[in-house]
């Protein structure tokens, strides 16, 4: 059944343009693995190379020990769910789901039984004789899913399967997909540009940009310890502040602005050549919830611009002395939200924030290697 997918030094070129330069990756057996990135990052290209619809210009893809570079898509034993579902409009729900089985020379009763089973699993039994045009988006999605898994594929590939659904249905379906994948245990490669969706379904996520994996890790690692500033800004919301690391009698301090607010920080991993510099310019990624409004008048001075009450949390848009705009969130209280033009002082939750080198390429704050 399920397989391990090993990708070694994979290269994809369109003409002279290299879309994916030497990418290596191992997707574990039974894992729900997501390729996440902005459009044009190469995630769909990579998925289609695994499926066999895109040619491979270099490197290898293996299912377990078997190199599949030159195996036709139909012989790779994959199930694929397409972005627009690719439901055959001329076949009924049953016809669509049975399509892959019919090619496998199974006896008719076997096919019927398998289709019946899968209809139950994806909960569309009552629609089995309908034509696709009479199905809603969510129902079509379920047919596409059923059609892909009924053939018991080694690998399930999904290309932005939820992007055509409305917001509420998207949440329902992603839970259904996750649950189904856990029950069936198929190695799954999932492509999306929606980071919340990726977090919700994945065991591991590879964040991609320009054909290169920026960060590979669990949803928690990726959110809390993004490998670089790109990942930090792509996943969730964050504020990037310029700051400096100073050394004062062996303690390292993170200082915002000349002679401004500073916090002691430890456990940083700084490259040797920068280790002993007295002053090191850095970029700090601070998520809105990693700010604390200080009660004692110390911290970074900021002025409230406006506030948005969203129930559980209240968002404040503030402007710092430097003129930079920053977004912060605070748990809502029964008191009135802070008024515009009010001056506040901000501190940071120093265990949560991430400190990067000046180019935003290396995270000094501990783990989180690509």
């Amino acid at each position: 059944m399920s397989v391990t997918i090993s990708i070694q030094d994979l290269v994809k070129k369109y003409g002279d343009a290299t879309v994916i330069p030497e990418l290596s990756l191992e997707i574990k057996k039974g894992e729900f693995f997501t390729l996440l990135g902005p459009s044009g990052c190469g995630k769909t290209t990579l998925l289609r190379m695994i499926a066999g619809f895109n040619s491979i210009e270099g490197g290898t893809i293996k299912f377990n020990e078997k190199t599949i570079n030159n195996v036709e898509p139909g012989k790779r034993n994959i199930g694929m769910v397409f972005q627009n579902y690719a439901i055959f409009p001329h076949l009924s729900v049953t016809g669509n789901i049975a399509f892959g089985l019919q090619n496998r020379k199974l006896a008719k009763p076997d096919i019927a039984a398998k289709v019946e089973d899968i209809l139950k699993v994806v909960q569309i039994e009552q629609y089995k004789d309908r034509m696709p045009k009479n199905l809603s988006g969510g129902q079509q999605q379920r047919v596409a899913l059923a059609r892909a898994i009924v053939i018991r594929p080694d690998v399930l590939l999904m290309d932005e399967p939820l992007s055509n659904l409305d917001a509420k249905l998207r949440v329902d379906m992603r839970n259904a997909i996750k649950e189904l994948q856990r029950d069936v245990g198929i190695t799954t490669v999932y492509v999306t540009h929606d980071q919340e969706e990726a977090m919700a379904v994945s065991d591991r996520i590879a964040v991609m940009k320009s054909g290169v994996i920026q960060h590979l890790g669990t949803p928690q690692e990726i959110y809390q310890r993004p490998a670089n500033l790109f990942v930090a800004t792509f996943i969730g919301r964050t504020n990037v502040l310029e700051a400096a690391l100073t050394s004062n009698q062996g303690t390292r301090m993170l200082r915002f602005g000349e002679g401004g607010y500073q916090e002691p920080v430890d456990g940083l991993r700084i490259p040797d050549e920068d280790e002993n510099k007295p002053l090191l310019a850095v970029k700090v990624s601070i998520r809105p919830e990693e700010f604390v409004i200080s009660e004692d008048g110390t911290g970074i001075q900021a002025k409230i611009v406006h506030s948005v009450f969203l129930g559980q949390m209240t968002h404040y848009f503030v402007s710092l002395e430097s003129g930079q705009s920053v977004e912060i969130t605070q748990e809502s209280t029964t008191a009135r939200p802070l008024e515009p033009n009010q001056i506040i002082h901000l501190k940071v939750k120093k265990d949560k924030i991430n400190i990067y080198d000046a180019r935003g390429e290396t995270n000094y704050t501990g783990s989180g290697r690509p």
């Binding site: 499926a51 066999g52 036709e72 627009n84 001329h90």
Partner: protein, 551 residues
Amino acid sequence: MIQARKRFDVWTNLSLIIFVFYILFLALPLFTMLFKSFYDGNTGELSLAYFTKFFSKPYYLNALWNSMKVTVCVTLLAALIATPLAYIMSTVKIKGSSAIQILILISSMSAPFIGAYSWILLLGRNGVITRFFKDTLGIAMPDIYGFTGILLVLTLQMVPLIFMYVSGALKNVDQSLMEAAESMGYKGFAKMRKVLLPLITPTLLAGGLLVFMRSLADFGTPMLIGEGYKTVPVLIFTEFISEVGGDDGFAAAISVIVVLFATAVFLLQKFVANRKSYTMSALNPIEAKKKKGIGNIAAHVVIYLYTLLALMPQLYVMYTSFQKTSGRIFVPGYSLDSYRQAFDNIGDVITNTFMLAITAIVIIILLAVLIAYVTVRRRNALTNTLDTFTMFPYIVPGSILGIALLVTFNDKPLILSGTAAIMVIAFVIRRLPYTIRSSAAILHQISGGIEEAAISLGASQMKTFFKITLPMMLAGVVSGAILSWVTIITELSTSIILYTGGTRTMTVAIYTEVVRGNYGVAAALSSILTAITVVSLLIFLRMTGKKEFTL
């Protein structure tokens, strides 16, 4: 809501006027024809005599059988040839494919009988190719006259229609459907049979219907190349025009039979097509990819050969138009004599054609815009009936409409026979659908809210229509009108019934010159007609930015 408005307004009045037009010039003639077919001129009583006559004589039944044979064979053959061609063009990158698509479009828009006459020049008893094979290679070519010739000419004429339909359908097939089939292990022929073919079946049925109706109605081709092989349109024509006292009643009876047959086929097609229709829109359409090796060469050869074959009749006619003639025979050397003769002797046919066609097209544009508007925006019983009326030209062959008009307006109170008016009316009725179709299509894309906005700002209904809706519809109207225009100037089967000395058109002149064996003049006129057609189509392509269209 505009649709919910109950009170009579200016649109209701306009719908009524158009409705009366259709009753007078379509419903009344068809009813008159139906009546004539049952009316015995000698006894003055209703009888089935004409029908008994038709079904009791093998001579007549044979013509019906011939027509069916030709029509079915042409439809099947055209689909069989056109589908692979369209598939190749859609999946393989062919060098010069845009040019080829335009050439194929042009070849489809010429009058079929010009093809027939050109093939006679090429493959006929005295044809250049026949002579070449006989004299140089000593091989006797098969006889081109009769069934074979009709089949050859009509099939070549109809292939482009299905080709364009199928190409359009293939553009709506999403690449991921093919990939889904591949991922489940289907490839090559199995993939096509199980997925691609069912997806384009509705389109094949639609294109097939069009081809079926056109081949059934075609009169010029069997007349020229059929020789003894009589089809129904030829039979109707000879019965009606017959110099020894044509028989209106009998021609009417045959027409009724043909229309009933055509209606049956039409309804059957609708029934089948409705059960198989699905809407598709492709997120990632199938793309033409660069192929390598033998497959690439084969694809190019097939496409180029076909294009050459499709264009050959027109090219050869054009070539002969520059040949020197002596009397009616071509002699070695080149000259413009044929053109000189064409302008000298029958130059007025060109003026006639333009006068009639321009008058018709003006009326067509006016009516089409109004009909499109009322049938799309004001749906009610009246406009629905109007919508049905506009479908009639699909099932009523041109020569039959001509006869129906003639037998109806041959007498008081309204005598129109022999006038330019009757020609214009026939052109309008027959060629309106193209413009209506494209105007309605564009109107569907314009939100009704825009009109409501104009009305809410105080504009009257008429002002809203002329200042807001019409300008937005214009592109669609014009592209449809160009198709109507091209099909009017290449029209033969109605004109040949309705024309008189003063209203002779170019197609009629070409036809009569061919029949008289005056090939030089015919070639010159054909070339002029082709040139006008090509220019019109190029304007069409320029305006729509499309490389294909559906009829």
